[in-house]
């Protein structure tokens, strides 16, 4: 869901890459096959755009094949395929397609777990003393705590297993708004918060995602704005309380959300999945609801094309925290699948993937911190005076994310970067992640209700009488056509013959 979706053309070109590598791989009896099913464009695919910048740079799966054979002495072949939405992936799985490793978003992981599709990770996978367990050795403590504290199956109160039993993180991020600094005054935004979506001043200049879960979250945040604002951010149970509000799906809430969504529908420019970035870069719209990874991409693009100035804003009340993680369906080759996750979690590979796809990975560690510094830290000597330096920079603290892996996870960053630009979106500060809520799997019944709500919002609305009139009209047209077609055969409908002519019976006509 949180994927940068590039035009269909590019996707088609990209989709052929893994196929080619499958064809090129040769078959032998002892070879293991690892079937990986991932988002489109969600892994380092090598080539010119990769970290190495070398047109011949191998993709991540090829690197894995080489590494695996070296490490374990058995040849392996990765069968890599991609999906466009969580629902597509779920349908493929349900149809009986077999995979060893999937990369759905958090709510889909919960749905799969609730429906008993998943295989848990081995205990040895979490043994940090073994060198090859790169995931557990490098995963950010923040992500790890997240995965260990969230129950995976909320439908069954008996089941107290957590995400970490079934899933290993891959990418994560938050949601917010990209805005055009020329038309939008940043000072107006904090007060509006999510109400940006219904603000008259931005009528026809703001977009939301063409996706029910994201729009539902926004509507909830608007609906319960006061209740959220009243929460004590310093309280121990703040996160639980916030999560409870942002996961309400009772009938009363749905009815109220419908009204908010109608208001949004009236006010917004449109719903988009991948046109939003182009529209905001071109200046057509002023505000675009976006996932943090997309925001980084759009801001980079706007800088390159020196068109508009774009910034990123995360509402003060709350934001949605999302994860994509690796899970193994039942019957998967666990050894190879876990080896793949560990391989991706080697810091250098995590950096390669992050660099290629532009999202934030879950892997911490020295190398990743160095990469972040390399990208975002500023050199004090570039500033002419001390005042200028102090006015334009700030100390950015990422110790919540890097934990013990880095001794002092702070660096000097450009103030704008840290407060409203790429750095802010790429690695949000603790203050932001603190006010984030995870959207759970709603459960089957609530899911159905919310989908119906979505179809009511998205569908067209006509008054009942209008439908009746149009149906009657259609019936009349059909009757009319029938009359023209067959009426001729019934004497009653035929015009009387002109004077001097005699009506010929159908049977007589046939004789000739």
């Amino acid at each position: 869901m949180k994927k940068r979706r590039i035009s269909a053309l590019l996707l088609a070109a990209v989709a052929t890459l893994p196929t080619i590598s499958i064809l090129a791989g040769c078959n032998s009896d002892s070879e293991i096959v690892l079937r990986v099913y991932n988002w489109e464009e969600y892994i380092d695919e090598g080539g010119e755009d990769s970290w190495d910048g070398d047109p011949d740079a191998p993709d991540m799966t090829t690197r894995f094949e080489e590494w695996y054979e070296e490490q374990y002495g058995t040849p392996i072949r990765v069968e890599y395929s991609t999906f466009g939405t969580n629902e597509d992936m779920y349908n493929q799985l349900k149809l009986g397609n077999e995979y060893d490793l999937l990369c759905p978003s958090e709510y889909m992981i919960m749905k799969l777990a609730a429906e008993d599709y998943l295989e848990p990770y081995d205990e040895s996978f979490f043994d940090a003393s073994k060198e090859e367990n790169y995931y557990i050795r490098n995963v950010s403590p923040y992500i790890r705590q997240m995965f260990e504290s969230n129950r995976i199956n909320k439908e069954d109160p008996e089941d107290d297993s957590t995400w970490s039993d079934y899933a290993a993180g891959y990418m994560w991020g938050v949601t917010g708004f990209i805005y055009n600094t020329e038309y939008v005054d940043a000072a107006d935004l904090p007060e509006l918060g999510w109400n940006i979506m219904t603000e008259q001043a931005y009528r026809n200049r703001v977009t939301t995602k063409d996706n029910v879960r994201d729009s539902y979250f926004v509507a909830l945040a608007i609906l319960y704005k006061d209740e959220i604002a009243a929460l004590d951010k310093t309280a121990d149970d703040y996160t639980q309380k916030l999560a409870e509000i942002m996961n309400r799906t009772d009938d009363e809430t749905i009815a109220k959300v419908e009204e908010v969504m109608r208001e949004m529908d009236e006010n917004i420019y449109g719903y988009e999945t991948d046109t939003g970035k182009a529209d905001i870069v071109s200046g057509r719209i002023w505000l675009n609801f976006a996932w943090s990874g997309d925001a980084v991409y759009a801001m980079d693009l706007a800088e390159e094309e020196d068109g508009v100035g774009l910034n990123f804003f995360i509402p003060e009340e709350c934001a949605n925290l999302w994860f994509d993680g690796w899970v193994m369906p039942k019957g998967a080759n666990k050894q190879a699948a876990q080896a793949f996750v560990n391989f991706l979690s080697m810091p250098e590979n995590a950096i390669r993937n992050m660099y290629y796809i532009g999202y934030s990975g879950v892997i911490a560690g020295e190398e990743v911190f160095d990469y972040v510094c390399e990208t975002y830290a500023v050199d004090p000597e570039e500033y002419e005076s001390e005042e200028e330096f102090l006015a334009n920079t700030t100390t950015y603290d990422l110790s919540y994310f890097f934990g013990d892996a880095v001794e002092d996870a702070t660096f000097i960053a450009d103030r704008e970067q840290a407060e409203s630009r790429q750095l802010y979106a790429h690695y949000p500060p603790k203050a932001v992640t603190h006010r984030c809520a995870v959207m759970d799997y709603y459960g089957e019944e609530a899911n159905e209700n919310i989908n119906e709500l979505w179809s009511r919002i998205k569908g067209e609305t006509l008054e009942t009488w209008a439908i009746a009139v149009i149906c009657a009209g259609v019936a009349l047209v059909i009757a009319g056509v029938l009359l023209v077609k067959f009426g001729g055969k019934i004497d009653f409908f035929r015009l009387p013959p002109k004077k001097g002519y005699k009506r010929v019976k159908q049977e007589e006509v046939k004789k000739y």
């Binding site: 349908n91 989908n451 009511r456 569908g459």
Partner: protein
């Protein structure tokens, strides 16, 4: 030895094709439409569709959008096809080619180009329904021109001469000869434009900013979450299209040269 194939043997590949790609999928759709999540026979989806004003409104809107698109296409295409077919121009195929060339360019690219154009004019986001219809007319026009052109081309020149001999003026000639004899072309043009304009939600998504919802989008969204309802909507659309094809006489085999009898 000479290899001989009977007509039956030659037909087998087509029969297999039709079975696997038309008949079985159709049966699967019908099966899914009339079952619930536990795969029990159920009419729930049927009832839900017809008791939900949103779905009915959406299908009505789609019908209206498709009707307008088809009508506009016909109004533009008929004169073009007529002029091209009847004129004595030497290079008329060039003009025909120009009308048809957009079909050779990738569909996504064309829609994107129209989007940019509408943005430049300032209509994008302001007139979603107009934009959708505009895009559809642009995209489907060649499908209307081609069948019209071929049928108009086939009309025997001597018929026009006969009409002129009998004192028919241009108008009479048109209403008594050209129009009736081009009915098959009109019918197949309408069929080829009408169906995609009810289902091609890429156009309504891109040019109507997803604020215009046609029935094809509903089917797409339901296939993400509920295949049974999705199949039901698809089945109802199938019936609507079947009806409209039947009404325009698209199923008649030998309507080619005789269209007149019915009028």
């Amino acid at each position: 030895m000479r290899l001989r194939f009977s007509r039956k043997t030659l037909g087998i590949p087509y029969a297999v094709f039709l079975l696997f790609f038309v008949i079985i999928p159709m049966l699967v759709i019908i099966f899914y439409a009339f079952t619930d999540k536990e795969m029990h026979i159920s009419f729930e989806n049927f009832i839900r569709f017809f008791s939900d004003p949103t779905k009915l409104s959406t299908i009505v809107y789609s019908l209206v959008i498709a009707l307008i698109t088809t009508a506009v296409c016909l109004l533009i295409a008929y004169p073009v096809a007529y002029i091209l077919a009847r004129s004595k121009m030497k290079k008329k195929f060039v003009i025909l080619l120009l009308f048809v060339t957009p079909m050779w360019i990738n569909f996504v690219l064309r829609v994107n180009a129209i989007r940019e154009l509408l943005n430049w004019i300032g209509l994008l986001g302001e007139a979603n329904y107009f934009n959708t219809i505009f895009g559809m007319v642009y995209d489907f026009l060649p499908f209307m021109i081609l069948p019209l052109y071929t049928t108009l081309l086939k009309i025997d020149e001597s018929l026009y001469e006969a009409s002129a001999d009998l004192g028919g003026n241009t108008f009479t000639t048109f209403t008594r000869i050209t129009l009736p004899l081009s009915m098959p072309g009109i019918a197949s043009g309408i069929t080829m434009v009408f169906l995609p304009s009810m289902t091609n939600y890429v156009v309504s998504d891109m040019l109507g900013n997803s604020k215009v919802t046609i029935i094809g989008k509903f089917i797409y969204e339901y296939f993400g979450t509920n295949w049974h309802m999705g199949s039901m909507v698809a089945l109802i659309l199938l019936i609507v299209v079947f009806l409209s094809t039947w009404l325009t006489g698209g199923f008649k085999e030998e309507s080619t040269a005789r269209g007149t009898n019915n009028l």
